[in-house]
């Protein structure tokens, strides 16, 4: 921590700038080789569409035709609503279960059975029950997003230090206070870990659901393009999902750093300074 602070930051900046330049050079070389190989007939453009045609595909799908937008919007909508509903249900249920030994005992066998079932196998069943529309996709994403937050939250609730609980009891804390002040924050790193896992599988869940049966969404778009062997456009869709997945990953990472600040040395220092300032403001009138 202090070692990193001691090294002059500009030198680090220059070095990482150089790294970026190197990466870009390697990438450009690869793309050029791909383009040339494709034009020379070494690479089959059916499987490896030229980078130039993929680039043109981006322009076509996003700007001139603009036909990717409704599909992208639909898929993102499914992912977000399914993720929120599924993970909130998972966390909520785990909090209730974690507080009560009895509920935990009676619920456990069901949780084990459902967890052992591959989620995607239930996909066609859900589609048969709820139709080809939006609701069945959201339900599948919910199902995919339920378990990781549920299991993680429960673990986080249960691995509380016994002495911490004794400490709270010796101060005559109520069960609710112990939950709010100790168990919930203690479970926070696990809860966020569960959310990260859920978010990672949410996108995949939505796509698989769309592959199974749907009339719109990114999964449908990819199926359609590959069906007519329009590989450049299919690649545009895949790359779009790559960027989306990466953005989601980064967002969850930032959320984790923001909420669970006490596992990160740098963040702890920032929060510590902020709290010191707030304390000084509040007791400003005092000598």
């Amino acid at each position: 921590m202090s070692a990193a602070g001691d090294s002059p930051p500009r030198a680090g900046g220059e070095r990482s700038g150089l790294v970026v330049v190197n990466h870009l050079l390697i990438l450009a070389t690869l793309l050029a080789a791909w383009e040339i190989g494709s034009r020379a007939g070494v690479l089959d453009p059916l499987f490896f569409p030229r980078p130039s045609s993929i680039l043109a595909g981006f322009w076509r799908l996003y700007v001139t035709q603009g036909n990717i937008w409704p599909h992208l919007g639909l898929t993102v909508g499914e992912v977000i609503s399914g993720f929120l509903a599924g993970s909130l249900m998972g966390i909520g249920l785990a909090l209730v279960v974690g507080m009560s030994d009895r509920v935990r005992r009676y619920l456990k066998p069901y949780v084990i059975v459902i967890e052992a079932t591959p989620r995607i196998a239930i996909g066609p069943v859900i589609i048969a029950a709820f139709g080809f529309g939006w609701s069945s996709k959201v339900l599948i994403v919910m199902l995919v997003c339920f378990f990781a937050p549920f299991v993680n939250t429960l673990n986080g609730m249960l691995n509380v230090d016994e002495d911490d609980i004794s400490m709270m009891r010796s101060m005559r804390a109520s069960k609710l206070q112990t939950f709010r002040l100790v168990m919930l924050p203690n479970a926070m790193p696990d809860i966020l870990g569960g959310l990260r896992l859920a978010m990672a599988s949410a996108l995949g869940g939505a796509l698989v659901a769309e592959f199974i049966a749907s009339n719109a969404g990114m999964g449908v778009l990819i199926s359609q393009y590959t069906g007519v062997l329009n590989m450049a456009s299919a690649f545009v869709c895949v790359l779009t999902l790559t960027v989306l997945g990466f953005a989601i990953f980064r967002l969850m990472e930032a959320l984790d750093r923001f909420i669970v600040f006490w596992t990160d040395a740098e963040r702890m220092e920032t929060v510590s300074r902020r709290r010191a300032r707030r304390w000084a403001e509040r007791s400003g009138g005092r000598p």
Partner: protein, 268 residues
């Protein structure tokens, strides 16, 4: 100092009287339908402001006894009173400190110290000033806004000690509070603990498995032996408190160590 006054005024009628703060008669604890006797027939009185050390090997019931006094563990039999009232559970007059600091990692030192106030109700300006005073008393003023993971083990236990005093309890129970620290830190903290408890005028029960530590700190040492857990002897330490660490090399001190060791040796 303000903190010392507060603690004494909490129990004006017993502050200097001879009424025992803690009185135990034949207190026992059994586990597994009475098959395992963890504590057997503990009978003793603790006077106001007295410092008691419980010393003995593992399984002698010293931690069990402390947790029973704290109201964290139910006794199986006998009579136990704090300030004349039977112990039925955790009590506002009694506060406990553990071997682990049991600090909340997401709270700064001063926020951890304020935890008892927050549990009791709304945190007032008086609570905040008291917390600042206690961090000063434990030498942590510069670390008030550090998080536990930014502090050393010794400093974390100082925060726990400040939090213990923030409760305003006049009976302090410490279960091997510095047992996980290195020798030098432990000795320094023991000296400070001795100073602070006499400054605050609190009645203290301190569990340790270190004979020297027990004699250095206590007015009386309860020597405990296992199978079943019992108070085998009570040894008076007639040396004025607070004590200088140099006392540990005097003949009087070594005679007391030998006495305690003799009691333990005969029963092991």
């Amino acid at each position: 100092m303000a903190i010392a006054e507060r603690h004494q005024s909490a129990t004006p009628e017993t502050a200097r009287g001879d009424v025992p703060v803690i009185s135990a008669h034949d207190v026992s604890k059994t586990f597994g339908d009475g098959r395992v006797v963890a504590l057997n027939g503990a009978t003793f009185d603790v006077r106001p402001g007295e410092f008691i050390a419980l010393v003995g090997p593992s399984g002698c019931g010293k931690s069990t006894l402390l947790r029973i006094v704290a109201g964290l563990l139910e006794r199986s039999g006998g009579d136990l009173r704090v300030h004349g009232e039977p112990v039925k559970g955790p009590h506002t007059d009694v506060a406990m400190m553990f071997q682990k600091p049991t600090l909340l990692a997401w709270r700064t030192a001063i926020e951890n110290v304020l935890l008892p106030a927050e549990i009791a109700g709304k945190v007032t300006e008086a609570d905040r000033q008291k917390a600042e005073g206690l961090l000063e008393l434990t030498g942590l003023t510069d670390f008030a806004f550090s998080f536990p993971r930014q502090l050393s083990g010794g400093m974390q236990q100082r925060v726990a000690l400040a939090r213990l005093l923030q409760t305003g309890a006049d009976v302090l129970l410490l279960d091997e509070p510095f047992g996980a620290l290195d020798e030098f830190t432990r000795e320094r903290l023991n000296v400070e603990l001795s100073r602070i408890t006499s400054e605050v005028g609190a009645t203290t029960m301190f569990v340790t498995h270190n004979i020297g530590e027990a004699i250095f700190l206590a007015d009386r040492v309860f020597v405990m032996t296992p199978r079943p857990g019992e108070i085998a002897a009570i040894v008076d330490v007639p040396l004025p408190r607070p004590r200088d660490p140099a006392i540990q090399v005097t003949p009087e001190f070594n005679a007391l160590v030998a006495e305690v060791r003799g009691t333990l040796g005969g029963r092991l």
